[in-house]
Amino acid sequence: MSSKEMIAMLLAGGQGSRLGVLTSDVAKPAVAFGGKYRIIDFPLSNCINSGIDTVGVLTQYQPLVLNSHIGIGIPWDLDRNNGGVSVLPPYERSDNSEWYSGTANAIYQNLKYMEGYDPEYVLILSGDHIYKMDYEAMLDFHKQNNADITIAAIPVPIEEASRFGVVITDEEKRIREFEEKPEHPKSNLASMGIYIFSWPVLRDALVALKDQSNCDFGKHIIPYCHERDMRIFAYEFNGYWKDVGTLGSYWEANMELIDLIPEFNLYEEFWKIYTKQSMIEPQYISSTATVSKAIIGAGAEIAGEVTGSVLGPGVVIEEGAVVRDSILMRGVHIGKGAYVEKAIIAEGTQVGANTRIGIGEYAESKLNPKVYQFDLVTIGSKTVIPEGVEIGKNTAIHGITEASDYPNGRLESGDYIIKAGEES
């Protein structure tokens, strides 16, 4: 096998528990975004657009949707004779076997995969962010500085910097200091969790820290290298970069696409985002429909009112139904006369006729106030919601629910119904 200058390792095994029931049965990178994409499409498309044709995707949590989405990489032109995309799940060995216990541990367990390509550089990516970025430009920067490690960093408003891992650089952009979620940040450059390592540096650090439990890049590998005075540089990125790790930020990032001229533009020919396309047919907007301020995927059939919403492929909105300020993923079906406001509804969910979702007053979540705090109704995939029920704000539902699950035909604000394991 001929060697590759740079290969990418994409960490896609995380659950993303802050997305609540959206990630009940899919890994976070497989969560739908922007009416047709999945989050992982952004780093994968960035790779191929940057000329990186060898990508290892590390999976662990709920990999089924992710596996079938990635396949052999055809949508991203990553079906290659030499290289291409490889899905790398944890595996059993003769002496021991373990799950991936941390970001760096996962990469360590795949040392042989990387060695197979004899790379000069390894790019570490995560499947958590929406952005377009040229990794080749970052590699040029890495080479120019003769760096051991380059960390992509984005300027954030200083008042928000305390939510991030912050890097403090000298005038040559060499990183002198790291601060993890500092109370009084000394810099506004936040680490994006994107690293380029010179291969020997990565290999040696992974091997040296192989017995570190839950070995993590931010917590262990980078500090280890920093202590040894290696050349660590910050590559400043000034484009659009959006974390979609919480229900609030996920909802917001989708809603921003609806803006008249969105900051993150998916309509450009340059730097296309590729995805596995399950539907190609056009959408039908019927004579009873009203659609404005919306993004709607292929094959949808709209007969009701849709405003301020992002709808995935194959969504059906029946006559008289109203959908406002919501995200409906592929195949969601909204019955006649239903009302949906400020909801995130995952793939394949059926909402019965005349059901009202997102009504009443806000109440704190009884399920998990840290996850569910954004005044959104969150409904997991392949959920069934019966006809004529009323669902309050800040609620969570997953599973096949029946009228008997709703006392007095209502689910109060802040309440939840999780019927995991009961889907067919």
């Binding site: 396309q277 190609i280 056009p282 404005s292 292929a298």
Partner: protein, 372 residues
Amino acid sequence: MKALGIILAGGNSSRMQNLSDKRAISAMPIGGSYRSIDFTLSNMTNSHIQTVAVLSQYNARSLNEHLNSSKWWNFGRKQGGLFLFTPTVTANNSWWYRGTADAMWQNIDFLKKRHEPYVIIASGDCVYKLDFNKVMDYHIAKQSNITVVCAKVPDYDDVGRFGVVKMDHDGQIMDFEEKPMVAHSDIVSTGIYVIRRRTLIELLEQCNKEGRYNFVTDVLIRYKGMQKIYGYMLEGYWSNIASVKSYYQTNMNFLKPEVRDYFFRQEPKIYSKAYDLAPAKFNAGSNVKNSLIASSCIINSQVENSILFKKVFVGNNCVIKNSIILNGAYIGDNVYVENCIVESDETLLSNTSYIGKDEIKIVAENHNRYGI
């Protein structure tokens, strides 16, 4: 595999008016997301035909672009593949394709090298679904030499564009009239034929020796006494798009729920090239009724009873009515469009109006996009 496919996609027709200036008929956009040839290609792949030759010569650029990868239709396997044959100059031939039979004759080496016992010949200008295995079963059961797939013409006024067929009670074709002035039947040939590969090779070689080039007049009609020719009735939806009127009607038919259900929802599906476009966007002010909207359209105003193909932009305060807007058209502000077909990549300047009065108007003005 029992059959290989040949798609005769070379055609042009004056009935398409200036729509065919830009492309061969088989590359005409259909139903918002497809091109005409997708239907035959998908039917072939769905019938497990693995080898398909597309014969084309008229303005094949669009078609070439569309067929740039065979993977969209699941061809391109080790067994079989999708081949595009345009005329080439060889040691003993420097002609264009002089007719449908000649087009096949010029590629006779391809036919000779294959091993499939049957050939399905089809055109690229029809919208339909068909399981070719059923036609082959019929062909074999009837011990037919050539089987012609026939259909009832959807619009009787249109019958003069077709080969009109008269069958006996058993389905054998007794009479075949090509494009008659007065038709005696509303059963027409769909341009789809099943024939044994060896028989086809013999007939093509005989034709060429006699200086004859057309499959319908020189083979079908001439041999109808000598060969057993049967008609197979295609019962489902079928429509030929090779005139402006039928092209418009075929597209508009996709606004009917039963037609959408048949092609968009029911298996087997119709495949097409993937373009990786963003979803359609509806801005404030958009008001869309009874219309099909393809990916990456951006709509700012009123669209009614229309079909918008991919990447169409509709500006502010426009009215688009009963129209077909082809790929990539840009419609400025305050534009009124009714009963029109707007050519692909057209730019309609702001404050203009285009109305098809008695018939469908084709809008092809080639304005400079960057001048606005």
